[in-house]
Amino acid sequence: MNQIEIEHITKSYGNVPALRDICLRIESGELFGLIGPDGAGKTTLFRILTTLLLADEGRAAVCGLDVVKDMAAVRRIAGYMPGRFSLYQDLTVEENLTFFATVFHTTVRENYELIRDIYVQIEPFKKRRAGKLSGGMKQKLALCCALIHRPQVLFLDEPTTGVDPVSRMEFWDMLDRLKEQGITVMVSTPYMDEASRCNRIALMRGGQCLQTDTPDGIRASFGKTLWAVRAADMYHLLDDLRAFSAAFSCYAFGDTHHLTLKEEANEKELAAYLQQKGHTNIRIKTILPTIEDCFIMNDECRNDE
């Protein structure tokens, strides 16, 4: 059964299009990722799905409930953690949690099991005002507040932005545990390396959905051989690779440069070219693309059109 159905959703702010004809279906119990940079339209989509914003065109439903007609019912079954910290800064940790439970006609005790793993980490600070919490603790409190009414669907807008890599990994571990409890999770992130933690992802850019599939499916659809190239002088290597006549795209990627070629030119030709350009310690190998490579390739092909 589809927990979230999005059909031809379009939204503009004045002349600026924010979402263009978005269609997505998210199944029950799925951990679904919206992957894309700032300005991709992720937040607008969340706000439409959580009944906070009206789409210009199209329709959307959460658990079979229409986000416009059944607005009140959607709010009861959806949990939402906005990108910006949205809790009451001058209430304590405990008071925030109790407030959100009360608003949803429930109690902290009734649903404590669901949040226990996360809440125990901030419980030592339960008398502290939310405004005085560190970033990581705010994030955990916000997640608890979004969960306290035991929602069927959880919407998380960039929960890991600005968070260090280790804390990010721990956050995704928490999401795995929520998924095991049967909660459908829709989460957005600008960090492409987090995509592999999702069952399926949508790559978004400029209000459009570029591709939707499993992370492996997206990687498999890359369509070109990807080369990782290194040499002693990485700075000039980038320019020289881009100037290579058979080069299709080339960009820095960690400690190597990633290169695709127009036709399947061979490694020897490339090595000879780089040697002739005076490069030393040249290392060339084929590698499997990451989600970030796929995102960049999607972009490159778009610019080519």
């Binding site: 894309g36 940079p37 700032d38 300005g39 560190s134 970033g135 990581g136 603790m137 960039e158 932005t161 600005g162 968070v163 260090d164 890599p165 280790v166 804390s167 990010r168 990994m169 600008p190 960090y191 492409m192 390396d193 850019r205 700075y235 960009y251 820095a252 990627f253 960690g254 400690d255 970030e292 995102f295 960049i296 972009d299």
Partner: protein
């Protein structure tokens, strides 16, 4: 690069900052050479921002020594500010000023004269391919353009050092790479780049990287050497190996 013979633009010895009983930065000692791209990594709460604020002359250390562009961080904080540029993800430019107005404002703050600013404005907009956006309000620029513009403004006065605090957060993959090309160009001109990031692929682009854990610098070396030492394939793995030991969170 032979770090031993290069000019040192940042030198710290046992630099420490305490807030009450909390030691945010605990006796860090390191040097950064002219034209180096220095990655300053650490988990949230490791002490990076506090250390950076001391180096920028915004926060007086509790103890230890540091010189930035040859100036003492206790006594010569105003001189330090003249030799550095700064940008962060959170604060870079004024959104309700136009592109040219921001350049005018920051050029003035960084001590350039009117004529210099006019010439720099043309040069900068040309290099960034932003000439048509001269009269655009910065708020309506895409984030990636804004960050590239903010970086160019932070080095408009050709400072000895530019401090970048998570400059690429949320920026799309292609623009993020263009941003790093601007960093390389600045470093090639001899500007030292001191940068924090949560993107581990960006740590690989640095000449040297330090990793702070709980107020200490736990590791400092080239990405290559760090990966060898931790038997890791990537800087991400190095970071995980180190930051997992952290006891405190923010």
């Amino acid at each position: 690069m032979n770090a031993g013979t290069m000019n040192k633009v940042i030198e710290t010895r046992l630099l420490t900052k305490r807030f009450g009983s909390f030691t945010a930065v605990n006796g860090i000692s390191f040097e950064v050479s002219e034209g180096e791209i220095f990655g300053f990594l650490g988990a949230n709460g490791a002490g990076k921002t506090t250390a950076m604020r001391m180096l920028c002359g915004l926060s007086v250390p509790t103890s230890g020594e540091a010189r930035v562009a040859g100036c003492d961080v206790y006594k010569e904080t105003e001189q330090i500010k003249r030799h550095i540029g700064y940008m962060s993800q959170k604060f870079s430019l004024y959104g309700d000023l136009k592109v040219w107005e921001n350049i005018r404002l920051f050029g003035g703050i960084y001590g350039l004269r009117g004529k210099q600013i006019a010439a720099k404005t043309d040069e900068l907009l040309h290099d960034l391919n932003l000439e048509s956006e001269r009269n655009t309000f910065v708020d309506s620029l895409p984030l990636g353009w804004k960050q590239k513009l903010a970086f160019s403004v932070a080095v408009i006065h050709e400072p000895r050092i530019v401090f970048l605090d998570e400059p690429t957060g949320g920026v799309d993959p292609i623009t993020r790479r263009q941003f790093w090309e601007l960093i390389y160009k600045a470093a090639n001109r001899g500007i030292t780049v001191f940068v924090t990031t949560h993107y581990m692929d960006e740590a690989e682009y640095c000449n040297r990287v330090s990793v702070m854990v709980d107020g200490y610098i736990e590791a400092l070396d080239t990405p290559e050497a760090l990966k060898a030492r931790f038997e890791a394939d990537s800087m991400g793995q190095v970071f995980h190996a180190l930051a997992r030991r952290a006891r405190r969170s923010e």
